[in-house]
Protein backbone atom coordinates (compact mmCIF):
# COMPACT_ATOMS: atom_id res chain seq x y z
CA UNK A 1 0.00 0.00 0.00
CA UNK A 2 1.52 3.30 -1.04
CA UNK A 3 1.10 6.63 -2.78
CA UNK A 4 3.10 6.55 -5.99
CA UNK A 5 4.18 9.25 -8.42
CA UNK A 6 5.12 8.27 -11.97
CA UNK A 7 6.93 10.95 -14.01
CA UNK A 8 4.66 13.60 -12.59
CA UNK A 9 4.78 17.18 -13.84
CA UNK A 10 2.59 20.08 -12.80
CA UNK A 11 2.00 23.46 -14.40
CA UNK A 12 -0.03 26.37 -13.04
CA UNK A 13 -2.04 28.62 -15.39
CA UNK A 14 -1.76 26.21 -18.29
CA UNK A 15 -1.92 27.92 -21.65
CA UNK A 16 -1.76 31.45 -20.24
CA UNK A 17 1.24 33.75 -20.72
CA UNK A 18 2.21 33.40 -17.06
CA UNK A 19 2.18 29.61 -17.15
CA UNK A 20 4.46 28.30 -14.44
CA UNK A 21 6.11 24.89 -14.25
CA UNK A 22 5.91 23.94 -10.57
CA UNK A 23 7.00 20.28 -10.75
CA UNK A 24 9.02 18.28 -13.26
CA UNK A 25 9.51 14.56 -13.65
CA UNK A 26 8.71 13.50 -10.09
CA UNK A 27 9.08 9.79 -9.25
CA UNK A 28 8.32 9.00 -5.64
CA UNK A 29 6.75 6.37 -3.41
CA UNK A 30 5.29 6.96 0.04
CA UNK A 31 4.60 3.78 2.00
CA UNK A 32 2.43 3.31 5.06
CA UNK A 33 4.31 3.21 8.31
CA UNK A 34 6.99 5.45 6.87
CA UNK A 35 7.80 9.04 7.60
CA UNK A 36 8.95 11.00 4.58
CA UNK A 37 10.36 14.48 4.83
CA UNK A 38 10.45 16.96 1.99
CA UNK A 39 12.82 19.89 2.15
CA UNK A 40 13.21 22.63 -0.38
CA UNK A 41 13.51 26.40 -0.55
CA UNK A 42 10.41 28.61 -0.90
CA UNK A 43 8.82 28.23 -4.31
CA UNK A 44 10.44 24.85 -4.98
CA UNK A 45 7.05 23.17 -5.34
CA UNK A 46 6.61 21.51 -1.93
CA UNK A 47 3.01 22.61 -1.43
CA UNK A 48 2.12 21.66 -4.99
CA UNK A 49 3.58 18.20 -4.46
CA UNK A 50 1.45 17.69 -1.34
CA UNK A 51 -1.74 18.75 -3.09
CA UNK A 52 -1.14 16.10 -5.73
CA UNK A 53 -0.97 13.49 -2.98
CA UNK A 54 -4.67 13.58 -2.22
CA UNK A 55 -6.01 14.45 -5.61
CA UNK A 56 -6.95 18.02 -4.80
CA UNK A 57 -4.92 18.87 -7.89
CA UNK A 58 -4.39 16.54 -10.82
CA UNK A 59 -0.99 16.21 -12.48
CA UNK A 60 -0.40 17.95 -15.82
CA UNK A 61 1.83 15.06 -16.88
CA UNK A 62 2.32 11.58 -15.51
CA UNK A 63 0.20 9.77 -12.96
CA UNK A 64 -0.39 9.68 -9.21
CA UNK A 65 -1.77 6.49 -7.66
CA UNK A 66 -3.17 6.31 -4.12
CA UNK A 67 -3.25 2.62 -3.13
CA UNK A 68 -3.78 1.79 -6.83
CA UNK A 69 -6.63 4.32 -7.20
CA UNK A 70 -6.13 7.15 -9.69
CA UNK A 71 -7.75 10.33 -8.33
CA UNK A 72 -7.60 11.97 -11.76
CA UNK A 73 -10.02 9.36 -13.12
CA UNK A 74 -12.47 9.06 -10.25
CA UNK A 75 -15.60 11.15 -9.72
CA UNK A 76 -18.14 11.90 -7.02
CA UNK A 77 -18.30 9.55 -4.03
CA UNK A 78 -15.34 7.51 -5.13
CA UNK A 79 -12.95 10.43 -5.14
CA UNK A 80 -14.24 11.55 -1.74
CA UNK A 81 -13.51 8.06 -0.42
CA UNK A 82 -10.04 8.04 -1.96
CA UNK A 83 -9.27 11.50 -0.56
CA UNK A 84 -10.28 10.32 2.87
CA UNK A 85 -7.30 7.94 2.81
CA UNK A 86 -4.92 10.89 2.62
CA UNK A 87 -5.42 13.56 5.25
CA UNK A 88 -4.00 16.86 4.06
CA UNK A 89 -3.02 19.48 6.63
CA UNK A 90 -2.50 22.79 4.86
CA UNK A 91 0.02 25.39 5.92
CA UNK A 92 -1.32 27.47 8.83
CA UNK A 93 -4.32 25.12 9.14
CA UNK A 94 -5.69 27.17 12.05
CA UNK A 95 -6.89 29.71 9.45
CA UNK A 96 -9.55 27.19 8.46
CA UNK A 97 -11.16 26.81 11.88
CA UNK A 98 -14.74 28.01 11.60
CA UNK A 99 -17.01 26.34 14.13
CA UNK A 100 -18.16 27.77 17.45
CA UNK A 101 -16.54 25.05 19.50
CA UNK A 102 -13.48 22.88 19.29
CA UNK A 103 -15.77 19.85 19.25
CA UNK A 104 -17.79 21.00 16.24
CA UNK A 105 -14.72 21.89 14.28
CA UNK A 106 -13.07 18.54 14.76
CA UNK A 107 -16.40 16.80 14.11
CA UNK A 108 -16.82 18.53 10.73
CA UNK A 109 -14.87 15.90 8.80
CA UNK A 110 -16.35 12.78 10.43
CA UNK A 111 -19.87 14.27 10.09
CA UNK A 112 -19.24 14.64 6.37
CA UNK A 113 -18.38 10.95 6.38
CA UNK A 114 -21.78 10.26 7.96
CA UNK A 115 -20.75 9.60 11.57
CA UNK A 116 -23.25 10.49 14.32
CA UNK A 117 -23.94 10.01 18.04
CA UNK A 118 -21.47 8.17 20.23
CA UNK A 119 -19.43 7.03 17.26
CA UNK A 120 -18.84 10.68 16.36
CA UNK A 121 -17.95 11.61 19.92
CA UNK A 122 -15.52 8.70 20.20
CA UNK A 123 -13.85 9.81 17.02
CA UNK A 124 -13.43 13.39 18.26
CA UNK A 125 -12.11 12.21 21.64
CA UNK A 126 -9.66 9.92 19.88
CA UNK A 127 -8.33 12.66 17.60
CA UNK A 128 -7.98 15.12 20.49
CA UNK A 129 -6.18 12.59 22.62
CA UNK A 130 -3.64 11.89 19.89
CA UNK A 131 -3.01 15.59 19.48
CA UNK A 132 -2.53 15.92 23.23
CA UNK A 133 -5.62 18.07 23.73
CA UNK A 134 -7.59 17.56 26.93
CA UNK A 135 -11.13 16.69 25.85
CA UNK A 136 -13.19 17.71 28.89
CA UNK A 137 -11.23 20.93 29.30
CA UNK A 138 -11.31 22.07 25.70
CA UNK A 139 -14.20 20.60 23.75
CA UNK A 140 -16.59 23.50 24.44
CA UNK A 141 -14.04 26.27 24.00
CA UNK A 142 -14.23 28.65 21.06
CA UNK A 143 -11.23 27.94 18.82
CA UNK A 144 -10.43 31.68 18.72
CA UNK A 145 -9.71 31.68 22.45
CA UNK A 146 -6.98 29.02 22.27
CA UNK A 147 -3.24 29.59 22.07
CA UNK A 148 -1.48 29.41 18.71
CA UNK A 149 -0.07 25.95 19.34
CA UNK A 150 -3.43 24.63 20.56
CA UNK A 151 -5.26 26.04 17.54
CA UNK A 152 -2.81 24.31 15.27
CA UNK A 153 -3.31 21.01 17.09
CA UNK A 154 -7.10 21.38 16.91
CA UNK A 155 -6.82 21.92 13.17
CA UNK A 156 -4.63 18.84 12.76
CA UNK A 157 -7.03 16.83 14.94
CA UNK A 158 -9.79 17.90 12.53
CA UNK A 159 -7.95 16.11 9.74
CA UNK A 160 -6.94 13.12 11.89
CA UNK A 161 -10.59 12.62 12.80
CA UNK A 162 -11.11 11.36 9.26
CA UNK A 163 -8.87 8.41 10.24
CA UNK A 164 -6.70 8.69 7.16
CA UNK A 165 -4.11 6.04 6.23
CA UNK A 166 -1.66 8.75 5.30
CA UNK A 167 -1.19 12.16 6.84
CA UNK A 168 0.39 14.89 4.78
CA UNK A 169 1.51 18.05 6.58
CA UNK A 170 2.62 21.32 4.99
CA UNK A 171 5.11 23.12 7.25
CA UNK A 172 3.32 21.90 10.41
CA UNK A 173 5.67 23.73 12.78
CA UNK A 174 5.94 27.03 10.90
CA UNK A 175 5.28 30.11 12.97
CA UNK A 176 5.31 28.31 16.33
CA UNK A 177 7.63 29.19 19.18
CA UNK A 178 10.56 26.77 19.75
CA UNK A 179 8.70 24.87 22.49
CA UNK A 180 5.53 24.52 20.44
CA UNK A 181 7.64 23.42 17.50
CA UNK A 182 9.37 20.64 19.44
CA UNK A 183 6.10 19.48 20.99
CA UNK A 184 4.33 19.35 17.64
CA UNK A 185 7.14 17.48 15.93
CA UNK A 186 7.10 14.91 18.73
CA UNK A 187 3.35 14.43 18.23
CA UNK A 188 3.79 13.98 14.49
CA UNK A 189 6.45 11.37 15.12
CA UNK A 190 4.05 9.47 17.34
CA UNK A 191 1.48 9.23 14.55
CA UNK A 192 3.68 6.89 12.61
CA UNK A 193 4.98 4.96 15.61
CA UNK A 194 1.67 4.33 17.34
CA UNK A 195 -0.84 4.41 14.49
CA UNK A 196 1.32 3.09 11.66
CA UNK A 197 0.27 5.92 9.35
CA UNK A 198 2.29 7.00 6.39
CA UNK A 199 3.37 10.53 7.26
CA UNK A 200 4.70 13.12 4.85
CA UNK A 201 6.02 16.36 6.25
CA UNK A 202 7.26 19.43 4.45
CA UNK A 203 9.62 21.94 5.92
CA UNK A 204 12.25 24.38 4.82
CA UNK A 205 14.13 23.69 8.06
CA UNK A 206 16.44 20.72 7.57
CA UNK A 207 16.72 20.32 11.29
CA UNK A 208 13.02 19.51 11.78
CA UNK A 209 13.07 16.92 9.02
CA UNK A 210 16.35 15.26 9.96
CA UNK A 211 15.24 14.70 13.54
CA UNK A 212 11.85 13.18 12.70
CA UNK A 213 11.87 11.44 9.31
CA UNK A 214 13.06 8.06 7.99
CA UNK A 215 13.62 9.25 4.47
CA UNK A 216 14.24 12.69 3.02
CA UNK A 217 13.61 14.12 -0.42
CA UNK A 218 15.26 17.36 -1.49
CA UNK A 219 13.24 19.46 -3.89
CA UNK A 220 14.87 22.28 -5.84
CA UNK A 221 13.02 24.25 -8.55
CA UNK A 222 10.37 21.55 -8.94
CA UNK A 223 12.77 18.62 -9.26
CA UNK A 224 13.95 15.99 -6.82
CA UNK A 225 17.69 16.56 -6.65
CA UNK A 226 18.46 14.14 -3.86
CA UNK A 227 16.81 11.54 -1.71
CA UNK A 228 17.96 9.20 1.02
CA UNK A 229 18.12 8.64 4.76
CA UNK A 230 18.73 11.67 6.99
CA UNK A 231 22.28 10.38 7.40
CA UNK A 232 22.86 10.30 3.67
CA UNK A 233 21.43 13.77 3.29
CA UNK A 234 23.72 15.15 5.98
CA UNK A 235 26.71 13.44 4.39
CA UNK A 236 25.95 15.46 1.28
CA UNK A 237 25.77 18.55 3.48
CA UNK A 238 28.37 20.45 1.55
CA UNK A 239 26.37 20.15 -1.65
CA UNK A 240 23.24 21.32 0.17
CA UNK A 241 25.02 24.34 1.64
CA UNK A 242 26.03 25.28 -1.88
CA UNK A 243 22.42 25.24 -3.06
CA UNK A 244 21.60 27.52 -0.16
CA UNK A 245 20.27 25.21 2.56
CA UNK A 246 21.13 25.95 6.18
CA UNK A 247 22.39 22.89 8.01
CA UNK A 248 21.58 22.43 11.71
CA UNK A 249 24.22 24.47 13.60
CA UNK A 250 25.98 21.46 15.10
CA UNK A 251 26.22 19.77 11.72
CA UNK A 252 27.63 22.98 10.32
CA UNK A 253 30.34 22.81 12.98
CA UNK A 254 31.10 19.20 12.00
CA UNK A 255 31.26 20.20 8.36
CA UNK A 256 33.80 22.93 9.11
CA UNK A 257 35.88 20.68 11.37
CA UNK A 258 36.07 18.02 8.69
CA UNK A 259 38.64 20.16 6.91
CA UNK A 260 41.05 19.48 9.78
CA UNK A 261 39.81 16.03 10.75
CA UNK A 262 39.09 14.20 7.49
CA UNK A 263 37.79 11.11 9.32
CA UNK A 264 34.91 12.90 11.04
CA UNK A 265 31.48 11.38 10.39
CA UNK A 266 29.33 14.29 9.20
CA UNK A 267 26.15 12.18 8.99
CA UNK A 268 25.46 12.24 12.72
CA UNK A 269 22.20 13.49 14.15
CA UNK A 270 21.65 15.16 17.51
CA UNK A 271 23.92 17.26 19.66
CA UNK A 272 25.06 14.45 21.99
CA UNK A 273 26.22 12.20 19.17
CA UNK A 274 27.99 15.06 17.45
CA UNK A 275 29.69 16.22 20.64
CA UNK A 276 31.11 12.77 21.36
CA UNK A 277 32.29 12.42 17.77
CA UNK A 278 34.21 15.69 18.04
CA UNK A 279 35.55 14.59 21.42
CA UNK A 280 36.76 11.32 19.88
CA UNK A 281 38.46 13.10 17.00
CA UNK A 282 40.29 15.45 19.36
CA UNK A 283 41.50 12.59 21.57
CA UNK A 284 42.75 10.54 18.65
CA UNK A 285 44.87 13.36 17.41
Amino acid sequence: MSIRFFNVGFRYARGLPWEKVALKNINLEIRRNEMLGIIGPTGSGKTTLLQLMNGIEDPSEGQVLIDEGDPARLRGREITRLRQKVGLVFQFPEDQLFANSVYDDIAFGPRNLGLTGSELEDRVRWAMEIMDLNFSELYQRRPQTLSGGQKRRVAIAGVLALKPDYLVLDEPAAGLDPEGRTALLALVKRLRKELGMGVVMVSHRIQDIISTCDRVVVLVAGEIVKSGSPREILQAGEELSEIGFRLPPMNKVLQELKRFFPHLDVGLIGEAAIASEIDRALRNQ
Binding site: R14, Q51, F90, P93, Q96, F98, F108, N112
Partner: protein
Amino acid sequence: MMNSFTFGQYIPGESYVHSLDPRTKLYLVVAAMVAVLGVNTLWGVVITALFIAIFILAARVPARVFWSGTRPLLIVVVITALFQIFFVPGEVIYRWWLVTVTDAGLKMGALMTYRLLMVILLAQLLTFTTSPLQLTDGLERVLRPFSKVGIPAHELAMIMTIALRFIPVFFEEGHKITRAQVSRGADFRGGWLKSAQNLVSIIVPLFVRAFHRADELALAMEARCYTGGEGRTRLHVMVMSPADYCVMAVTTGVVLFVILSGL
Protein backbone atom coordinates in the same frame (compact mmCIF):
# COMPACT_ATOMS: atom_id res chain seq x y z
CA MET B 1 -9.97 27.56 -11.15
CA MET B 2 -7.85 30.35 -9.70
CA ASN B 3 -5.26 29.97 -12.45
CA SER B 4 -7.70 30.76 -15.21
CA PHE B 5 -9.08 33.80 -13.42
CA THR B 6 -7.81 36.57 -15.68
CA PHE B 7 -10.64 39.08 -15.54
CA GLY B 8 -9.39 42.30 -13.99
CA GLN B 9 -5.72 41.34 -13.99
CA TYR B 10 -2.99 43.62 -15.25
CA ILE B 11 -0.78 42.18 -17.98
CA PRO B 12 2.47 44.14 -18.11
CA GLY B 13 3.49 45.12 -21.61
CA GLU B 14 5.08 47.80 -23.75
CA SER B 15 2.32 48.27 -26.27
CA TYR B 16 1.04 51.54 -27.55
CA VAL B 17 -2.13 51.15 -25.48
CA HIS B 18 -0.13 50.39 -22.33
CA SER B 19 1.75 53.65 -22.72
CA LEU B 20 -1.34 55.86 -23.00
CA ASP B 21 -2.18 58.07 -20.05
CA PRO B 22 -4.60 56.30 -17.69
CA ARG B 23 -7.01 59.25 -17.95
CA THR B 24 -7.12 58.79 -21.70
CA LYS B 25 -7.88 55.11 -21.30
CA LEU B 26 -10.59 55.81 -18.75
CA TYR B 27 -12.18 58.27 -21.14
CA LEU B 28 -11.78 55.91 -24.06
CA VAL B 29 -13.34 52.96 -22.28
CA VAL B 30 -16.21 54.84 -20.65
CA ALA B 31 -17.04 56.73 -23.85
CA ALA B 32 -16.85 53.58 -25.94
CA MET B 33 -19.13 51.77 -23.47
CA VAL B 34 -21.65 54.59 -23.73
CA ALA B 35 -21.44 54.43 -27.52
CA VAL B 36 -21.85 50.67 -27.59
CA LEU B 37 -24.80 50.71 -25.21
CA GLY B 38 -26.46 53.46 -27.25
CA VAL B 39 -25.77 52.03 -30.68
CA ASN B 40 -28.80 50.99 -32.71
CA THR B 41 -27.87 51.28 -36.38
CA LEU B 42 -25.84 48.91 -38.51
CA TRP B 43 -23.34 51.66 -39.31
CA GLY B 44 -22.98 52.41 -35.63
CA VAL B 45 -22.19 48.76 -34.95
CA VAL B 46 -19.61 48.64 -37.75
CA ILE B 47 -17.84 51.81 -36.64
CA THR B 48 -17.74 50.94 -32.92
CA ALA B 49 -16.60 47.39 -33.70
CA LEU B 50 -13.75 48.68 -35.88
CA PHE B 51 -12.80 51.26 -33.29
CA ILE B 52 -12.67 48.75 -30.43
CA ALA B 53 -10.92 46.12 -32.55
CA ILE B 54 -8.11 48.55 -33.38
CA PHE B 55 -7.36 49.18 -29.71
CA ILE B 56 -7.63 45.52 -28.74
CA LEU B 57 -5.18 44.58 -31.48
CA ALA B 58 -2.86 47.43 -30.55
CA ALA B 59 -2.79 46.27 -26.91
CA ARG B 60 -0.84 43.16 -27.96
CA VAL B 61 -2.46 41.04 -25.26
CA PRO B 62 -2.87 37.44 -26.47
CA ALA B 63 -6.41 36.64 -27.67
CA ARG B 64 -6.38 33.65 -25.34
CA VAL B 65 -6.19 35.94 -22.33
CA PHE B 66 -9.21 37.94 -23.51
CA TRP B 67 -11.00 34.68 -24.12
CA SER B 68 -10.30 33.23 -20.67
CA GLY B 69 -11.58 36.45 -19.09
CA THR B 70 -14.72 36.47 -21.25
CA ARG B 71 -15.62 32.78 -21.04
CA PRO B 72 -17.01 32.79 -17.47
CA LEU B 73 -19.33 35.69 -18.41
CA LEU B 74 -20.66 34.11 -21.60
CA ILE B 75 -23.53 32.51 -19.70
CA VAL B 76 -24.82 35.97 -18.80
CA VAL B 77 -24.59 37.05 -22.43
CA VAL B 78 -26.42 33.96 -23.66
CA ILE B 79 -29.22 34.26 -21.11
CA THR B 80 -29.72 37.95 -21.91
CA ALA B 81 -29.81 37.21 -25.64
CA LEU B 82 -32.35 34.39 -25.16
CA PHE B 83 -34.59 36.69 -23.14
CA GLN B 84 -34.58 39.21 -25.97
CA ILE B 85 -35.19 36.58 -28.62
CA PHE B 86 -38.16 34.97 -26.85
CA PHE B 87 -39.85 37.89 -25.17
CA VAL B 88 -39.54 40.92 -27.44
CA PRO B 89 -42.84 41.32 -29.28
CA GLY B 90 -42.88 41.69 -33.06
CA GLU B 91 -43.67 39.80 -36.21
CA VAL B 92 -43.57 36.09 -35.42
CA ILE B 93 -41.21 34.15 -37.66
CA TYR B 94 -41.01 30.88 -35.76
CA ARG B 95 -43.35 29.17 -33.31
CA TRP B 96 -42.99 25.86 -31.49
CA TRP B 97 -45.06 24.85 -28.47
CA LEU B 98 -44.75 27.78 -26.00
CA VAL B 99 -41.78 29.32 -27.76
CA THR B 100 -42.15 32.15 -30.21
CA VAL B 101 -39.37 33.96 -31.99
CA THR B 102 -40.00 37.36 -33.53
CA ASP B 103 -37.98 39.35 -36.01
CA ALA B 104 -37.59 42.22 -33.56
CA GLY B 105 -36.57 39.74 -30.89
CA LEU B 106 -33.84 38.28 -33.05
CA LYS B 107 -32.55 41.72 -33.87
CA MET B 108 -32.55 42.80 -30.23
CA GLY B 109 -30.91 39.53 -29.22
CA ALA B 110 -28.08 40.06 -31.66
CA LEU B 111 -27.66 43.67 -30.61
CA MET B 112 -27.62 42.83 -26.89
CA THR B 113 -25.02 40.12 -27.50
CA TYR B 114 -22.87 42.61 -29.33
CA ARG B 115 -23.26 45.26 -26.63
CA LEU B 116 -22.46 42.97 -23.73
CA LEU B 117 -19.46 41.39 -25.44
CA MET B 118 -18.03 44.80 -26.24
CA VAL B 119 -18.55 46.06 -22.69
CA ILE B 120 -16.76 42.96 -21.35
CA LEU B 121 -13.90 43.39 -23.82
CA LEU B 122 -13.56 47.11 -23.04
CA ALA B 123 -13.42 46.50 -19.31
CA GLN B 124 -10.71 43.93 -19.89
CA LEU B 125 -8.82 46.20 -22.27
CA LEU B 126 -8.63 48.77 -19.49
CA THR B 127 -7.43 46.45 -16.72
CA PHE B 128 -5.09 44.40 -18.93
CA THR B 129 -3.19 47.49 -20.06
CA THR B 130 -3.34 49.69 -16.97
CA SER B 131 -1.72 48.78 -13.67
CA PRO B 132 -4.03 49.16 -10.64
CA LEU B 133 -1.87 52.00 -9.41
CA GLN B 134 -2.12 53.92 -12.69
CA LEU B 135 -5.81 53.22 -12.83
CA THR B 136 -6.54 54.69 -9.43
CA ASP B 137 -4.17 57.60 -9.97
CA GLY B 138 -6.06 58.38 -13.16
CA LEU B 139 -9.39 58.03 -11.43
CA GLU B 140 -8.30 60.31 -8.62
CA ARG B 141 -7.29 62.99 -11.12
CA VAL B 142 -10.54 62.68 -13.03
CA LEU B 143 -12.55 62.96 -9.81
CA ARG B 144 -10.50 65.76 -8.28
CA PRO B 145 -12.64 68.63 -9.62
CA PHE B 146 -15.60 67.07 -7.82
CA SER B 147 -13.89 67.18 -4.43
CA LYS B 148 -15.09 70.81 -4.25
CA VAL B 149 -18.65 69.51 -4.01
CA GLY B 150 -17.73 67.02 -1.31
CA ILE B 151 -16.72 63.93 -3.26
CA PRO B 152 -13.65 62.47 -1.47
CA ALA B 153 -11.59 61.77 -4.60
CA HIS B 154 -8.43 60.65 -2.85
CA GLU B 155 -10.23 58.39 -0.42
CA LEU B 156 -12.30 56.81 -3.19
CA ALA B 157 -9.16 56.17 -5.19
CA MET B 158 -7.41 54.69 -2.16
CA ILE B 159 -10.36 52.39 -1.51
CA MET B 160 -10.21 51.26 -5.11
CA THR B 161 -6.45 50.65 -4.99
CA ILE B 162 -6.83 48.53 -1.91
CA ALA B 163 -9.78 46.64 -3.35
CA LEU B 164 -7.96 45.92 -6.61
CA ARG B 165 -4.89 44.86 -4.72
CA PHE B 166 -6.76 42.46 -2.45
CA ILE B 167 -9.38 40.95 -4.75
CA PRO B 168 -6.94 38.34 -6.09
CA VAL B 169 -5.71 37.64 -2.55
CA PHE B 170 -9.30 37.17 -1.42
CA PHE B 171 -10.00 34.75 -4.28
CA GLU B 172 -6.84 32.82 -3.63
CA GLU B 173 -7.61 32.53 0.04
CA GLY B 174 -11.15 31.40 -0.71
CA HIS B 175 -9.72 28.83 -3.07
CA LYS B 176 -7.28 27.57 -0.47
CA ILE B 177 -9.91 27.31 2.28
CA THR B 178 -12.29 25.54 -0.10
CA ARG B 179 -9.67 22.96 -0.87
CA ALA B 180 -8.90 22.49 2.79
CA GLN B 181 -12.55 21.85 3.62
CA VAL B 182 -13.04 19.64 0.57
CA SER B 183 -10.17 17.51 1.77
CA ARG B 184 -12.04 17.23 5.08
CA GLY B 185 -14.91 15.71 3.14
CA ALA B 186 -17.01 18.85 2.55
CA ASP B 187 -19.27 18.10 -0.39
CA PHE B 188 -20.67 20.85 -2.57
CA ARG B 189 -22.46 18.56 -4.96
CA GLY B 190 -24.94 17.11 -2.47
CA GLY B 191 -28.31 18.61 -1.60
CA TRP B 192 -28.55 22.38 -1.30
CA LEU B 193 -29.10 22.28 2.46
CA LYS B 194 -25.89 20.32 2.97
CA SER B 195 -24.06 22.60 0.56
CA ALA B 196 -25.26 25.66 2.46
CA GLN B 197 -23.99 24.21 5.73
CA ASN B 198 -20.66 23.45 4.11
CA LEU B 199 -20.52 26.95 2.72
CA VAL B 200 -20.34 28.27 6.29
CA SER B 201 -17.07 26.39 6.70
CA ILE B 202 -15.62 28.53 3.92
CA ILE B 203 -17.27 31.89 4.48
CA VAL B 204 -16.47 32.17 8.19
CA PRO B 205 -12.69 31.66 7.90
CA LEU B 206 -12.62 33.80 4.76
CA PHE B 207 -14.16 36.76 6.57
CA VAL B 208 -12.08 36.24 9.67
CA ARG B 209 -8.98 36.42 7.45
CA ALA B 210 -10.30 39.46 5.57
CA PHE B 211 -10.98 41.43 8.76
CA HIS B 212 -7.64 40.39 10.14
CA ARG B 213 -5.94 41.61 6.99
CA ALA B 214 -7.85 44.89 7.10
CA ASP B 215 -6.67 45.44 10.69
CA GLU B 216 -3.09 44.73 9.75
CA LEU B 217 -3.26 47.03 6.75
CA ALA B 218 -4.75 49.90 8.78
CA LEU B 219 -2.02 49.46 11.36
CA ALA B 220 0.71 49.37 8.73
CA MET B 221 -0.66 52.53 7.07
CA GLU B 222 -0.85 54.36 10.37
CA ALA B 223 2.65 53.27 11.32
CA ARG B 224 3.82 54.94 8.09
CA CYS B 225 1.99 58.14 9.06
CA TYR B 226 -0.68 57.94 6.37
CA THR B 227 -3.10 60.83 6.87
CA GLY B 228 -5.12 60.94 3.66
CA GLY B 229 -4.78 62.93 0.46
CA GLU B 230 -4.02 66.36 1.92
CA GLY B 231 -0.61 67.59 0.79
CA ARG B 232 0.42 64.25 -0.69
CA THR B 233 2.79 64.30 -3.66
CA ARG B 234 3.24 61.61 -6.31
CA LEU B 235 6.13 59.52 -7.50
CA HIS B 236 4.84 59.43 -11.07
CA VAL B 237 3.37 62.63 -12.41
CA MET B 238 0.92 62.02 -15.22
CA VAL B 239 1.54 63.91 -18.46
CA MET B 240 -0.74 63.91 -21.49
CA SER B 241 1.11 63.42 -24.78
CA PRO B 242 -0.09 64.44 -28.27
CA ALA B 243 -1.03 60.79 -28.82
CA ASP B 244 -3.37 60.99 -25.84
CA TYR B 245 -5.15 64.04 -27.24
CA CYS B 246 -5.38 62.30 -30.58
CA VAL B 247 -7.02 59.19 -29.07
CA MET B 248 -9.44 61.34 -27.10
CA ALA B 249 -10.42 63.27 -30.22
CA VAL B 250 -11.04 60.11 -32.25
CA THR B 251 -13.06 58.60 -29.38
CA THR B 252 -15.20 61.73 -29.19
CA GLY B 253 -15.71 61.52 -32.96
CA VAL B 254 -16.90 57.92 -32.76
CA VAL B 255 -19.32 58.67 -29.95
CA LEU B 256 -20.72 61.67 -31.81
CA PHE B 257 -21.14 59.58 -34.95
CA VAL B 258 -23.05 56.87 -33.08
CA ILE B 259 -25.34 59.40 -31.42
CA LEU B 260 -26.02 61.36 -34.60
CA SER B 261 -26.55 58.27 -36.76
CA GLY B 262 -29.05 56.93 -34.25
CA LEU B 263 -31.24 60.04 -34.27
